[in-house]
Symmetry: C2
């Protein structure tokens, strides 16, 4: 039944050779890799305002454009920097790989942890922001925020367990639609604003009062607030690194095409983010928890209730879901790399029967779902956690590139060194700003979690190394033969006992005994009579069990055997009958099961269940 | 850790010989066996009013005394009838035993089911009524009704898993306190009333309106309402049968003492029930869902807030908890009888390490808790379910006694026949009245559940009989020897493989093969090289697993072996390593576990795990 349901939901199993590889044109690759980065324009501007407005009121809009300029400059630095990575690592250079090869194990584990945490947050942030786009258009859905988020995560989990071919077409539609709608919004909005056709919007006093009231309690210093606002805007850069992982998916020449796509993506991302910020500066929307800034702007420019407005909201939702979906490709892939290096449980390196890393998909869904529940599905609450992982990855990746240039001394290495050095310093400073400015409102969580995850990864590898050492043997190694005692557990003289006795006799035993654990004197007497009557010549040892349990007396008996023959091997033969239906097992004592589990833990002990199948009788 | 917690909560294990038997004086026995029956006076009168008031308003009080008279006459008949049972079954004659011995298997199963259902309801009804006594005195606790009920059930479960010595002292206190307080209430109340010191109480119009408004929708015909009210009052008889089960616990002469105690109990129960009904008739309390009638009467007679009032409420609560606790003695004991007869899962016949039938205690708690939740902790909602089981038991038990007298023809058997015949007819008629009059408001539930439980009991016995037949063998039976193939599963050439290979060679095999399931061509090549390098001469069969799974290729291989040697025996030897900590298992693929479980289901297959303990190295 379980397997029928599984087939229905996930489809037929796929054989290993059915895996396909697809090469992407630049146009399609842009859609596939850029959705994550570009989608952040849906919330980055708003997040800046959400920090500033509570401390400065509507006056905060004055600081929006300067902050947007700084973020855009940072974006330019990071894009230039990652261009170097793409050219240097044509087979894919994520932060984990680059820091492993250039900085060593520990930095690579920190980078890996940062990325894993980052992917979980990508899912949580993107899904919550996508649902926010929906609830902005349909406010009556607002209270259903958390169930909606969990529902979409569940759907993405299912889709990714089935395995999505990263079909270019699937991605291209929403990504280009979003770019088009956002460009239209910015252009039409700015033109109408400069022509005087559209003035600043009316202030929503109620929402403003809500925000400012709470805000004054939390912050106060303006310089600090500016840094904090900048940290929020910096999340616009999340996802920029995606192309560096995916170079091999491009058509030839891979590196050149990938680098060109990266630059194009940077330009689009920068223009959209800057454009939205300028538009917001002019139209002065009031940020609130009930409607996104993009929805307010879209309503003002296109008209609330117009077709274009709904298309904008839908496109926003769609690109955010795609962004979350890229994490569904990245998290399982990265964790399979890390697992293959021995730093994560091996199960994460196994592909399920649909050729996807099913365990990674499930783990990602559970973690992202937990975050959604813990932070009540609020994007603004998740943002402070997000930037830390992103910039940790950037910093380590760029630092790795610095070492790479220094070591390789490839042509024009000095130029690369300067570029990546600038990138490393810039992203490192931003990381510091993010951690410090947002430490108390959530950044402490990744600042604690990322090092802890890195430590756990080390411990896991340590464990695997220990096991591998213990299992390694030299050619010619053979275990020394040891004294072998075979113990047959006897419940009663039944049909199931006979094959077990026959099996036990067939073992090369130095000593063969039958053991009965007695809880009932009446039953014990009958067993003795039956034993004699059936002509069983094996010596029958009977042990009382005053506490009416099976496991302890058996263990005590085995300890006695052990003390007589230290280091010897003991085989415990358990006669069992297997009933035809699983539910029938509920009618039989499962003490044999507990015994087997316990004996499995005992060194030098082999457990043999000799099952007799009732209803499928065999001799 | 689990076992430490268990010891802390339940105490040290008790050996079988530590069981104690206690003989009870009549005075103590009355407290032990009568708490269940007498406690029903706490709600029986109220339940009559709760049926009548909604259809007739305060005029209903006119019918209270006539109904109480009929119930009291019924009580006299049942007590007289059970006196015969006690004298005829000095070793204990519950409805299950009496109907098994006189009426045959099927009636005894119905009686057994009725009693089991009855005990569950005893817990649910008594606990909810006890909590109602508390919330009547402390109305602010009212909304916490369900959690309070569940909490008390949890405490009783724990206490009974520890095992309560049915200490006479424990029972005597609350039972005699309740009898004293209730007698005082009735006497003082009636005296004050007849002296004119205490008139009829003011009608609580609000509560009355609440009840009458709903009531008129449900009932209407007065004759039907009277029958229904009588059915509610008849629950006062529940628990009367308890002494007939417990005859062996009395001091000698057991039967005589038990019979005398039964009559005393009947007199006390009858007087208290009738007294409360008369007092209610005179004082005209308004029934409501917020306060028990007993609390209203107590408040009127003793004064609300007086010490005597609180003692009355506390004593009511205490005796009801004791009544629930008697079901904790009866349910596990009866289910162990039934299980020993093969009609219930054997686990219910096993005593836990505190010498109690732990599984019965747990099952009872879960079922009673579920009822409390389903019926929102309302006594009045549970009552219609209650009487069906009680009177089914009575009817079958008395009918059994009729057959007993007819068969035995003991001295004065005709007199016994008349007495029990009257009892059987009376209780049978009441059963019919209860089922018909309350069918739509809940009585259909036990009317469906009791026969279904009886059917399940039959099926269980049928299964056990089938298994026993299948396992039975004649002396001299030996299974025919069959072709034996030993298959060693190989993952890689590790230290853990060697003891498994050695073990496999030690089996008397007709054929010995090593099997590797390959999911990774690279790993497969290394295995072939290692196999040769380590000089392993066993033939190595390699099977590809295109879907990257272990179980299916192994099963396919075994099917091929089977087709070559039909009816042969196959042993699958699985080399395993056991890590020191359970959590380390999370880091290793558990596919061997799934394989073992699957192979266990395959006829003619023996699975041998040869574990290598890492960290506790042995050769």
């Amino acid at each position: 039944m379980y397997s029928t349901l599984k087939r229905l939901l996930l489809g037929r199993p796929l054989a290993s050779h059915e895996e396909e590889h697809q090469r992407l044109t630049k146009l399609v690759a842009l859609a596939v890799f850029a959705s994550d980065a570009i989608s952040s324009t849906a919330y980055a501007t708003e997040e800046i305002l959400l920090v500033l407005v509570p401390v400065a009121g509507m006056a905060a809009l004055a600081d929006l454009v300067p902050i947007a300029i700084v973020v855009t400059i940072l974006l330019a630095i990071v894009v230039t920097s990652y261009r170097q990575t793409i050219l240097a690592y044509p087979h894919g250079g994520g932060a984990y790989v680059v820091s492993r090869e250039n900085l060593g194990t520990n930095p690579s584990l920190v980078a890996g942890s940062a990325l894993l945490v980052d992917y979980v947050l990508t899912v949580a942030v993107s899904v919550s922001a996508g649902v926010f786009a929906i609830t902005s258009a349909f406010p009556e859905l607002g209270p259903q925020r958390v169930p909606l988020c969990l529902g979409f995560i569940g759907l993405m989990m299912l889709a990714n367990l089935r395995g999505t071919k990263e079909s270019g077409r699937l991605f291209a539609g929403p990504t280009y639609l979003y770019i088009t709608m956002l460009s239209a919004l910015i252009l039409i909005g700015l033109v109408r604003s400069y022509l005087g056709d559209l003035g600043p919007l009316a202030v929503d006093e109620e929402s403003l009062a809500e925000l400012t009231e709470r805000g004054r309690l939390v912050t106060g210093v303006t310089a600090f607030a500016l840094l904090r606002a900048f940290s929020s805007g910096a999340v616009a850069l999340s996802g920029v690194e995606a192309i560096s992982n995916g170079v091999p998916a491009f058509k030839k020449p891979e590196s050149r095409n990938a680098a060109a796509t990266l630059v194009t993506m940077g330009l689009i991302l920068g223009s959209l983010f800057f454009g939205i910020s300028v538009l917001a500066h002019r139209l002065r929307p009031t940020v609130s928890e009930h409607e996104t800034v993009l929805s307010v702007l879209g309503g003002a420019v296109f008209g609330h209730g117009s077709g274009a407005y709904y298309v904008l909201q839908l496109a926003t939702f769609a690109i955010l879901v795609l962004a979350a979906n890229t994490a569904y490709a990245d998290f399982p892939r990265l964790s399979s790399f890390v697992a293959r290096d021995g730093f994560l449980p091996r199960q994460l390196a196994n592909r399920g029967d649909r050729l996807v890393y099913s365990n990674g998909v499930i783990v990602l869904s559970l973690l992202a779902g937990a975050l959604i529940v813990a932070f009540d599905g609020l994007t603004a609450a998740l943002i402070p956690l997000y930037a830390v992982g992103v910039f940790t990855g950037f910093t380590l990746s760029q630092s790795g590139m610095v070492v790479h240039h220094w070591r390789e001394r490839e042509p024009r290495w000095q130029r690369g060194l300067v570029i990546n050095g600038t990138g490393a310093v810039a992203t490192g400073v931003v990381l510091l700003v993010v951690v410090v400015s947002k430490f108390t409102i959530g950044a402490w969580i990744p600042a604690v979690v990322i090092p802890c995850v890195a430590l756990v990864l080390r411990r896991i590898r340590h464990h695997y190394d220990g096991v591998a050492r213990a299992l390694r043997i030299d050619p010619g190694y053979r275990p020394a033969p040891s004294h072998h005692t075979v113990v047959v557990l006897v419940g009663g003289v039944h049909r199931s006992l006979m094959p077990a006795l026959a099996y036990a006799s067939s073992l090369h035993a130095d000593q063969l005994v039958a053991l009965h654990v007695s809880t009932d004197p009446e039953h014990e007497d009958r067993l003795r009579r039956d034993w004699a009557e059936h002509g069983l010549d094996l010596p029958l040892t009977i042990r009382p069990s005053p506490y009416r349990e099976l496991t302890r007396p058996v263990l005590e008996f085995l300890d006695e055997v052990e003390s007589e023959h230290p280091g010897g091997l003991v085989t415990v033969v358990v006669p069992e009958f297997v009933v035809a239906h699983w539910y029938s097992n509920l009618l039989h004592n499962q003490s044999a099961l507990a015994l087997r589990a316990r004996l499995h833990q005992r060194p030098g002990t082999v457990v043999v269940s000799v099952p007799l199948h009732l209803g499928a009788a065999r001799e």
